[in-house]
Symmetry: C2
Subunit: 272 residues, 2 copies
């Protein structure tokens, strides 16, 4: 049975740990770490099979785990990503935005090849990446339109310089159109979705992003269009926010659990 | 570098072999087989790195390959699937319809677990299976509507007992609505798509299929809707038929190549 080390004991890390503990993921959670010792302790209390809490994030991969699961932050990816691979462990990354930094991407990609290890990125709050990556070399355009309630957009850096007052929006309104590269800087909450789509397809400078504020929705909706020689694909994903963590779509947690379940199982694996 | 054995040297097998030969898939094609010795010879002539033609399909997995790629027929899956796993090789299956036979599915799934090997099913002519499998346990409904030109539907078993005359259809017309289980018997050309969707989600008795004949289209379009507690997903894939084999969508070939490329690479793997 596979052995897992978990970096990050917040809302997503906790859901993953519970999925391992309940047997949904056929593996053993052997070691955990969080910058907050309290968060790590609270997580361990919830689990039947108690993992060991390590003293720093680098120690996770020094233990004989098969994979380290990052559910912490982009900084955590930058900090420990390479050492996980150097220690000959696989890595699953939730804070995918870290990979939009090309130097980080190249270092980790080269390390995978050099140490013969794999980094897994779940599809997150979107779907259809099986299709996008298959047609990567024939893609002519990729766009994503994200629609959220204005309150879900509050606090984004975009509003520091924009004239738009979210409180005054009373019908569906496009508030941003630009490249994925621009979008991830102005709307950090959208970063993982934009990063996944960019990395699967034609990169963050060619992928276009539209952000729509709609006071009449209670969902986070992502609409993706991709076109090229192969034909055309459109995907619409209407996500209900997770009950335990309204900032995260339930699908983002479920796709992480499925990615890890697949990694830990010898079985029939469906999908590219 | 991974070593590949190829079962089936028809249109799809040839495209996969060429992708290996050109380096798109970082692997070596070491052995091939086809029921037609001529087909195997013609394929080998096209390749720079010549694989050995084996005398029968069972011999593919007796050689030290890492994976056997089936691109032959459902019968081939039933015939050699188990022995590939028993010989401790992984298996990629293109004729996914074979797995709708529950006894075949169970035998191969158990063998994966027993021999610690994996069967890979590419997403075929559709996309979004990353999302569907993640929400598998929360799905309430899954449906697929396939729209094709009437000439692409000709010869289907459905028309043996139906009153519908394809030649007289002059506007978009629904010609079938039923379960995936019924659809795969009546429309064998649709079997892989219906099988992939059923296996990823809620099974062939609960997945519903609609077939539309549209004399005004030159594409094969699949529209998938999935709903449940997580929210809702809709995927529309408009496929241009492959130039070398109009019966196959280009996407089906590209998704097979991507699945194999991923299998053969130590790298960053995007998508659930």
């Amino acid at each position: 049975m596979k052995r897992i080390g978990l970096l990050g004991c917040g809302a997503i890390g906790t859901q993953i740990a519970l999925a391992i503990d309940s047997g949904k993921i056929p593996a053993v959670l052997t070691h955990v770490y969080d910058n907050s010792k309290d968060a790590a302790n609270i997580l361990v209390l919830k689990l039947n099979t108690k993992p060991e809490i390590v003293e720093n994030s680098h120690l996770l991969s020094s233990h004989p785990v098969d994979i380290v699961v990052e559910a912490a932050s982009q900084d955590a990816v930058k900090d420990v990503g390479l050492s996980v691979l150097q220690n000959k462990r696989d890595l699953m990354i939730m804070s995918v935005g870290a990979l939009l930094d090309e130097s980080i991407y190249d270092i980790l990609s080269d390390a995978c090849s050099h140490f013969k290890k794999t980094i897994y990125l779940p599809s997150g709050a979107i779907a259809g990446l099986d299709g996008i990556k298959s047609i990567k070399h024939e893609l002519e355009s990729v766009s994503i339109t994200t629609t959220k309630h204005p309150r879900s957009l509050k606090g984004a850096k975009f509003f520091e310089t924009s004239q738009i007052d979210l409180d005054k929006i009373n019908s569906s309104t496009v508030i941003f159109e630009g490249t994925a590269k621009e979008a991830v800087q102005l709307f950090p909450a959208n970063i993982n979705v934009a990063a996944l789509l960019s990395l699967s397809g034609i990169g963050s400078e060619k992928t276009t992003v539209k952000i729509v504020a709609d006071p009449n929705t209670d969902k986070n909706t992502h609409h993706i269009e991709a076109a090229g020689k192969f034909g055309k694909m459109t995907f619409t994903i209407e996500n209900i926010p997770d009950a335990n963590n309204p900032k995260t779509s339930r699908l983002a947690i479920l796709s992480a659990i499925e990615t890890l379940r697949k990694y830990c199982s010898d079985d029939i694996q469906i999908g590219t």
